[in-house]
Subunit: 256 residues, 6 copies
């Protein structure tokens, strides 16, 4: 069920019977010459809505702008500073609990949001307010991702390309896939992000000219569909698992 | 132009030539038994995208959750606390200036956001970072609103109903319009929001049973279209006016 | 009773028997060529003390500097940024509850403070700490204000002029009333504060040369007295109404 | 010159010619059974206004409520938490610099405000925004204070009593001076505030029954006048000294 | 050179000639039944001091308590909340730049600090204040770590055990190594930290009984020495590389 | 017992039986040409560890960098801004209470930390979280300090010199003691820190050329030992006294 489409009386039963919410979060940031800036929030929204439809769990509207300062050198990247993002998401989540929600899945499609969602989730759990966890689709099906692509990216690479080819083909510049590959960096290793054990890079512009990695020509809408189906299934299972837990079991352990 | 659909190289020309951005903001909150919780952000998004299409100015993705704590007693209302909202919007806006944006129209469809957008805009202007102003569609065509409806609401009333009937008819429960009217409050005056000069109410639940005001049966999709056209025209003019100004003229006056 | 004049043992009975406090707040900011910068806090203090005397409710000392950044271009305007004001007032109010106060009237005479007092009051109520509401004298007697003046201002206009003529005649430059009128702006409408539905102004200096609006020559001390008496009566009634309420009835409604 | 009484055009010359402001700050807190809660802010205001009158320097309205949480157990004590106080004073001071003020004397009559005024002043100086220093009247004439009283208090003791007897005799309960003495603590030493080198007390209620120290019967209005004259003279000199300094000389030294 | 041991005049030459500082950071938290709670800050300090000795670069005192809330269920774990940690480290680092430092290596031995050091470093770089990067010894020699141990842990595992056996043998309970292994979890995989792509654990107590992972009996002081030598060499190279860079080259790239 | 050296199971008994922790805090800042920058944290650590050894109370690792911005003009002074220091210490202390600690002695050797530790302690006590008090060694034995030295400093003077001569003789430049004295300021009075009752100085560099006060040639390791023994004894007694108190008796008094 999508919260945004419902009138308030029609939500009463849900909150009486269920306590889980799915919150999609993404980013609006450069994804190379071939993909739209909305890529991450479109992917997050697609998974969240799909799984809400399949399972009946409640899906909220999407947080469209996240922590993307590291992509700022490319036209159009939007971002908020980390404390603003954390406060916004924490406040939004705390307030969901007013309606009886006590477990939340952040369906997130932007790596830059992860540590901040983890921090928010840890805080909410430590305060015993809610159990909120983040989910990234590619983390749920690592073997399939590896199997489908030689160089999966990550950022703006073939796996994200395939996903948008499947979900929003009209937004992909298919004629620029080779350009994307040739103007980018083959892999994280090639990007040279570490020196002597230290992550010496901060921005995507530090080591890529066009902002993306991997071989985009390896992407197809069919692969996108396969990924979407497989990861959606994982998210369904996560929601079901979460729903089955007793709230007390989701809360922190006692002091030893 | 909608930023979310563009790949970064395709935005270069815009930022070279223009410095205006349209940022839609709304809320996700109860709008009575007949309207969807997304009402405000759907309206904001519709105006922002329409005017971006007509004028070519850049429209960003929408901020879907705003300051709606005063509607929290009704199922499904989502909200963030005011400081979180201000920080999020201020950070998002400051960062737009990194690409050369120096004037922003917050296309806002939720009254509860207004003082906070004003505070953010005042801060950004005082710091000479950007000139950001908020726009509410109904404020731009007050005479037409008054002419079309006897009791326009405001919250969840006929003017918002008509707008969603026009924009997203499938999301309106047309069979509940009389219920909405009969279970709500005819007008702000009837709501008794003031006592001896003091605004003594804080929450919608303080003076309405179903969260809405006005006579919803007075709404039609045709009226919605008329409102949408008229207000869009106003927003077009606002953007054009704003674009014509010199940045220095938008900045604060000197000390006398 | 005025808290500032009392020794602590003499307050014991009050706190045992009553739970209401009156907190005056104003500003120190330009009020045109004819009125003192203290105008707003003098008016707030006068109402608060008068009503405390008439009713026996407790009045605290005055918060003299408020949110007046929009008047900063005129010599001598003092102000604090909105977050500092909110924190100061919220902390002061929370701490009053330590003595048993659970309802507060902010007798406020500066429009720029209003959204911030509303935000503080909403927070305190949501936390079930106290019920604090703001009161503006002119909001309590709108018909009388309209009746007495053709163009009442608002800022530095005849209604504020009349009030200071009555309360502190020595602080009014009566010989500058025509100058004030001629160098200012007749009305808010003439000030052109809106464009196409957007409030495009932020500072008083954006649309007035001398900082004030309305026809100051229309003011007299007699009108000031009439206004003061009428609004004081309203404030008395507000305090009495507030005192009669059960605390639970002042707190937020339950979730529907 | 008192800023609150002036119309803005009459302040122009001052800001052109001078750059010093006197800001009075006090507290509203218990001062024993014999003195009013306003004691500290009345004293601060009296010194600030007097010296402004004598010298022509600009005096602002008073900050009436300060950091007094340590007196909260006694009826009527008002206070704000330290961060709120610092933010309020810092913001107020920074904004004074907009008019050309670059040196500020905080005429403070409450010991509990001192470390916070020092912190604010250090910050403003480190940022090279302003040179703001705090002044306590009794610190300026320690020998005279010692000479006039055997046990001067400090809090609510004979030196503060004498000051209010002189400035506001109607607010002193002269018939309770012996009660104040007998129900209080003779001296800081007697209060036992330290144990083995650690300040083990936090609140006035930890070691006094009525909130005050010293022998209040030793106070007279004549002593109050003598103290007021002597300390006013010191404050005049401080302002004159400060006025004579070059701004650069008031700013921090360079790195060695 | 160790800053703590020097008198200020003896540091003048360093700051004239160099602009690099090494800042050790660790944690004070449970490291199983066999290792001291100081483990992480002892390791960080050892590397930082050793490399400062070898190279002559400046090493500061150690930040001993970090972000370890996820180990709180075990006796003695100390921690600060993430915002406090970030503010403390950011302030400390910004202030180092006052002496001319513009590049900092955070020699960090606690994984829980990493995202926060990255956030601080990104902020400082975005503000063009300093280039600060974090270094973890095990990240610099992944192959050697893998070669020496079958199951390296990470937390409280054989690689940390070996390191303390080498650096502070008196602090290791060698008689508890088998207990540590048997009461803990063999590997991160065995700990079951993920479900369907989501990291579902927050605390060490969620999936370990004694707080540690890996086979501690595989550790020896000799292996510790080998690791220490190898990683020290990497840190030396990192410092040398960093020292060679032009400051401008360390700062963010321009907008494309 | 030193927490850092213990494995977590070995702390269980302590937390079952005791509720007191000793937390050493100092600074890293210039202490003249003869003393190391670590002076204050070395002294704090020495007292804290010694007394922990003598009494069995738990001592934590040291907070090495404090509020020392007023020494920043001298090479190598490290510092954090006051809010960062307070947050760090408050968070660290609150989290100690998770293990059952409810009383804390901040063994502090840096005057600049004192008001901030007092503020943190007052907050924790007001919240009834813990009773935390600061202890400065020299405050515990004022008579002995006065007896041993004509001019004890304070900063970088003979009492601190003697202490480091005793604790870490290798870190004292004994050949620079006369230089320290001759290039510094004999006493606080000579430093001219006050003008007409106002503390007009903010930085050590405002009134000393080499950063120190007093006659350093008066220091010997023997005097250092005598001071250390005497003050350690005081700290032992403080801990014992604190341990004997009922927690309720350490908490704030009720409202009168």
């Amino acid at each position: 069920m999508y919260l945004g489409n419902e009138a308030w009386p029609d939500l009463e039963t849900y909150f009486e019977e269920e306590s889980l919410a799915i919150v999609p979060l993404g980013s609006t940031e450069q994804h190379g010459p071939h993909l739209p800036e909305a890529t991450d929030h479109l992917i997050a929204e697609a998974f969240a809505r799909e799984v809400a439809d399949r399972t009946g769990y409640l899906c909220t509207p999407t947080v469209n702008v996240g922590v993307s300062g590291h992509h700022r050198q490319f036209h159009g990247t939007m971002w908020v500073e980390p404390p603003a993002f954390r406060e916004y998401v924490a406040s939004l989540t705390r307030n969901l609990t007013y309606h009886g929600i006590d477990r939340v899945v952040y369906v997130n499609a932007h790596g830059g949001n992860v540590p901040h969602l983890r921090e928010v989730g840890a805080r909410l759990r430590q305060d015993e307010v809610a159990y909120a966890i983040e989910w990234m689709w590619n983390e749920s099906i690592p073997d399939l991702v590896d199997e489908l692509f030689d160089q999966n990216g990550p950022h703006g690479g073939p796996k994200e390309t395939a996903m948008i080819q499947y979900l929003h083909p009209e937004l992909v510049h298919d004629d620029r896939l080779a350009t994307a590959r040739d103007g980018g960096v083959p892999s994280v290793e090639d990007a040279g992000t570490q020196k002597f054990g230290s992550r010496t890079f901060y921005d995507a512009a530090d080591n890529t000219d066009n902002g993306v990695l991997g071989d985009q020509t390896d992407a197809t809408a069919e692969k996108g569909e396969e990924l979407f189906e497989a990861a959606s299934e994982q998210l369904v299972r996560l929601c079901e698992w979460l729903d089955e837990q007793r709230f007390a079991d989701l809360m922190p352990n006692e002091h030893v």
